[in-house]
Amino acid sequence: MSLDYVKFTPGFEKFMPKEYRDMVDHGPFGKKTTVSQMGSFKEVMEEHPMCAGCAMTLFIRLAVIAFPNPEDTITVGTAGCGRLAISQAAIPFVYGNYGDQNGVASGLSRGLRLRFGDKPKDVVVMAGDGGTADIGFQQVVHSWFRHERFTTIMLDNEVYGNTGGQESGMTSRGAVLKMAPLGKKFDKMDMVGLAKLAGCAYVATVVPNNPRRVESVIKKAVLVAREVGSSYIQAYTSCNIEYAIPTDKVMEDAKTVENDRYAFSEYISDEAKEYLAERYGYKEYLPKPAAAVAALADKA
């Protein structure tokens, strides 16, 4: 990023809005910030028009904080609730057409690589379950098969929230929603299985009530997508309106759903492990020394 555009033009500082001055003085650009520092710095995504108690908003806030280089990250989305919040962030956001986010991201990330070479320009797709598993399905899965180097994040609230509560492919079987008046007749789509089958180098499922875990998976997914291949994160981000979850019970619901169908899972290809260990110092993925492996085998 040209960090110049988050600097004041000399003499104009006192005329700039408070929000902008905070971004310049206390924003995360060019620094390393973490979710545990929340409240002590100006976040890239703060104001938003989302419903009270929206878990998706919390997840997006955490995700944006976790971007390894927010100043060089471009987000891509599609129709749905998520884009109402993502578009308010102080980083570029592409809102194209219905379900075209992974196609746009394919062209965008390749184009940026042509222009900037090895300089990281992270492309992160954030779209809903409908945008990812239904209308955008073909472009999502093909981008994975092509090993496109960007991150896909599904904001899975298991319903079309923005259009008023219709069944999606990610809705659980039996759920009664608009357009499924007799209850959904087929299972929640296994997009995690598909992601692995299609060759994603990093795949994780996560719920938003563990901020550090969210931060950890987002960071790894974005880093892996820089060089190794596609990465996919599927996050449960409940719709407390359509599923009638009281606002003070949203995190409780996330815990229940985590135990029911959203247990934390993480798949990292061997190549991605090696890359994370060598390039970014993830010691846990360093190859185990032969002696230690032998010792472990002896113990067993």
């Binding site: 990023m1 956001f93 194209g96 965008l108």
Partner: protein, 457 residues
Amino acid sequence: MSETKTNPQGDPVTSMEPEQKTNPQGDPITSVAVPKADVKKDPHEDAKKQRVVTLEYLLQEAPRTKEFITGSEAAKEAIRRSNVDMAIAYPITPQSETMQLVGVLYGEGYVKEYYRGEEEVGVMAAIAGGSRAGVRCFTATAGPGTLRGLEGIASWPGHRLPAVAMFTCRVVNAPLAIQPDNIEIAYLLNCGMIVFHAENQQDMFDFIMAGFIISEMNDVTLPVGVCCDGFFVTHARGYVRMQDKSMKLPPREAWRGAVPVLDAENPPARLSRDAPVQKSNFMAYNIHAVWQQEVWAAVERSRKYITKYMGGLCTAENMDKADVVIVASGSAAAQSREAARLCKEKGIKVGLVKVRSLRPFPTKELRELCKDVKLIVVPEFNYVGWLAKEVATAIYGHSKAKIIAGPHVYGGQSMPVELILDEVESGLTGKKSTNVPLSAIMGVDDPAAMAHFMRSI
């Protein structure tokens, strides 16, 4: 020095060409073979030697040599000289040949990035992504592919995305057919993109190259569609005068556009953040209304560049003292030229106006050219007569000419020049046309006929 290889005919084989192989029946195998591993030559050698020249020099001054090639090959040669960064392909007849030839250019290093997309929705999305990244993008499609990709294509102008798309027009299903028919242009005319219609292989070559330049002008910043009539142009050969392939256009300058590219080097455009969809109030409606006006104003502003780099939005031939004018675009212009020649033999003076740019449309030019003529004939390769509507709208109140919206051929039919000749003769004599219904003829000084015409075509 290594020995020069020759093919079975004794011609030298360059290392870029696969060896001529034959199948068990002795027929040559023409499919693209994987280059042999022992070939030492850098496949990108020629591309690396290409040098950038000014667009004025390349488009207007550089010496050209003539070759007899297909329209698809002409498009390939235009792309070779256009400094294209990214091309995204998806097969559909009759466009497939064009995009696979562009793939050959990728193999040779003339195009930096290339892949076969999942289908047209994905391809048009990826073109939008590439254009937003600030690189020069190209794709091509046809008929059903155009309509499949239309949601994306129709959004490019609003996003202010420079790119060139080629439309090798064919029938739009159903019933299934792959024959030439340019009905798809009717859909493209109202997208807010710039639309050219190529008559022949030379036009394909010239319009594509000029298209990139016009598309990327700061006060334009719009996609350009270059249409041609499939097969008639893509698969048939014609003479094309081309500059030496050692030269190419200057690259796209990402900073030059009217809207910032999304590379995180510039402050992000607020178009997404403050999208009209976020609010339902007067300002939201006003934002969208003003944006639409600006897109179409940008289409208007492209006129000066079309005049400068393509020699005008239309061309006029034999207009001196002509009572009759045939207005045509695409390959219908070629049929019309021959019809005009036959008319001349019969002693009827017929002029020809060939429309090159459909968006923007040469309204002023047509008003001037048609102001004193008595009869205008508009032959087209589609059922609905979209060009006749455009012509009638443009010259209404500026000409008293009778307009015949026809003859029309469609579904893959070819257009015998005699059909056009018949319309000229019946139009002049008042004899009933055998090919064009009365409803598609606008009478002289007859408001009822005018109203019927505009309703019916």
